[in-house]
Amino acid sequence: MPEGLALALALVVLASTLGAAVFRARYVTEAAAGTAGALLLVAVGAVSLTRAGDALRELAPTVGFLAALLLIAEGARREGLFDAVGALIARGSRGSAQRLLAFVFVVAAGVTALLGLDATAVLLTPVVFATAARMRTSPRPHVYACGHLANSASLLLPVSNLTNLLAFHAGGVSFARFAALMVLPTAGAVAVEWVVFRRFFAIDLGRPRQPEAQAPRPQLPRFALVVLGLTLAGFALSSLIGVQPVWVAAAGAAAITAPALASRTTSAAALARAFEPGFLVFVLGLGVIVAAASGNGLASAVRTVLPTGSSLGDLLAIAALSAILANLVNNLPATLMLIPVLAANGHGAVLAMLIGVNVGPNLTYVGSLATLLWRRVVHAEDADIELGEFLRLGVLTVPAALVTATVLLWLCLKV
C-alpha cells in the first residue's frame, strides 16, 4: 500500500477511534473502536503484523502498570481513604474556605502524584464536593482545583499520568531520576495554579463565615496508608534493587486487593470494573493505530516541526507544541505520536513534552479544545457548565504554568 494512502487511512481510523471515545456512543465502546481500527489497519497492510506486534509488546508493560495503579486506587477507596481525607481536611479547615482550598491543593496534588490523575478525577473530586457542601461553603473553587491539579500535579512521578508511564517505558530515566527532575516543575505548575485560583475565586473564598461545630477527628485507614507507603518506597528504590517498578505496582495491587477478596468485601466483578479493561484495550488499539500513522510519514512530519536541541528555547517550543497537539487530538494520542520522535533527543525533550501534554489539557474541562468544541456541537451535554469560566481559568493558568514548569525543568537538567 502506498505510504500516502496508508497515512491517510491511519489518520481517518485515528480520528474515528477518538471520535468514538469522545462521543461515547452507546452502540460502540472505546475498546471495540480501538480494536476494530487496529485490525483494519493490519488487514489492509497499512501496518505490518510485526510492527503492530512490536507496538503491543512495547505497550503491554505500561498497560499492566496502569491496571495495577487503578486497582491500588480502588483499594484505597474501598478502605475509606478518600472519605477519611475529606473529613480530615474539613476538620483542619476550621470553617475557613481559604484553608479548605489549601488542603484541597495538597490532597489533590498528593493523590494525583501517587495514585494518578484518574484517582483525583474519579474518586477524590466527589469527596471534595461533599466536603465543601458539608462545610456549607461554595464548592466551586475546590471542585475546579481538583480538575486542574489532576493535570498540573500529574508531572511528578511516572505513575501520576498514563502519558508519563508511556514516556517512562520508552526508556532513559529511572523512577527516582524522573521524580528528581520533575519535582521543581511540578511545584512551579502547582504554585501558578495556587496564585491564579486565589485571585480568581477571591470573592468565593473571602465570604465571611461564622464558626461551626467541630466534627470528631476521623480515623485514617492504616492498612491502606501502609500499602501506599511501601509501594512508593518500592518505586523509589526500584532501580537500586534492580526490580522493574511495574512489579512493585503489581505487588501493591495484590497486597491491597487480596485481603478484601478473601474477606469478600469486594467481588471479582467490582475489581474488573475498577481496572477498566475496556480502557486498557482502547490504549492498546490506539497504540497500533498511531504506530501505523507514525510509520507511514507522521513521524517524519512531526520531526520536521519539533526542535531537536535541549536549549531553553527548544524545550519551551516542545512544551508549547505538545500542549497544542494535546488540545487538537487529546493528550494520549499526542504522547503516542511524540514519544518515538523525541526519545532520540534525550530525556530533557521527553520531559518537556510531558509538561505540554499534561498541563495543556487544563485549557478546557474535557481534556482538549477539539473535544470541547465537538461535544458542544453534537451534544447538549454539560449544558449546565459555565464554559466561559472554565476557559478563562485555563487561559490564566496554562501558559504561565507551562513556561514556569519548563524553565524549572531546564534548570534541573543543568544541575
Partner: protein, 167 residues
Amino acid sequence: MRALVWIVEDTWQATVAEAAAYLPADADITLLHVAGTEAEGAARAARHALLGRPHPTPHADAQPLRAISEQAAEELLAEAQALLGRPARRETRRGRLEREVVAAAEGMDVLVLARDGDRAHLGPRSLGPAARFVVDHAPCRVLLIWPDVTPDVTTIPPPPDAQPPRR
C-alpha cells in the same frame, strides 16, 4: 406579609439574623435554598476529561453528586430554621441561582438576601453576578444585607471631578 429569605452557604447565619430582626412577628417566612448545578457540572467534567475511560450513563453519573447536594441543602435549611426560631416554610430548588431566586420571589412582599461580592468597600462590586441579577430583577421589595461588618463611607472612591478641572 409574605417574606422570602435566600439562604446561601457561607453567609446564611447573618442573613437569618437580619431576617429575624427586621421581619414582623406575623410575617409568613419561606427559607429558600438554591443548589447551583455549576459545581456539580464541574465535578462531573473532571471525570469526562478522561479520554477512553468507560463511563456510567450521564444520569447515573450525576446521581450521587445530586444526592449529596440535596442532603446538604435540607440540613442547611433545617439549621437556618432553628437559628430563626420561628415557624417558616422551607423551599429547595435546583438550577441557575439567580433565575430560581427571582422565580421563587414571585408573589412575595419582601426578599431578604446578603451581598455576595467584595465586602470591604461600599459600591457596585459588593454584589456578585447572582445577587446583582436578583436585585435588578426582583418582583418585590428587597432587604439587602451586609453579611459582615458594614464598610464605612470612606471606602467610596472620591468622585472623578474631585481635582480642579484643567483649563
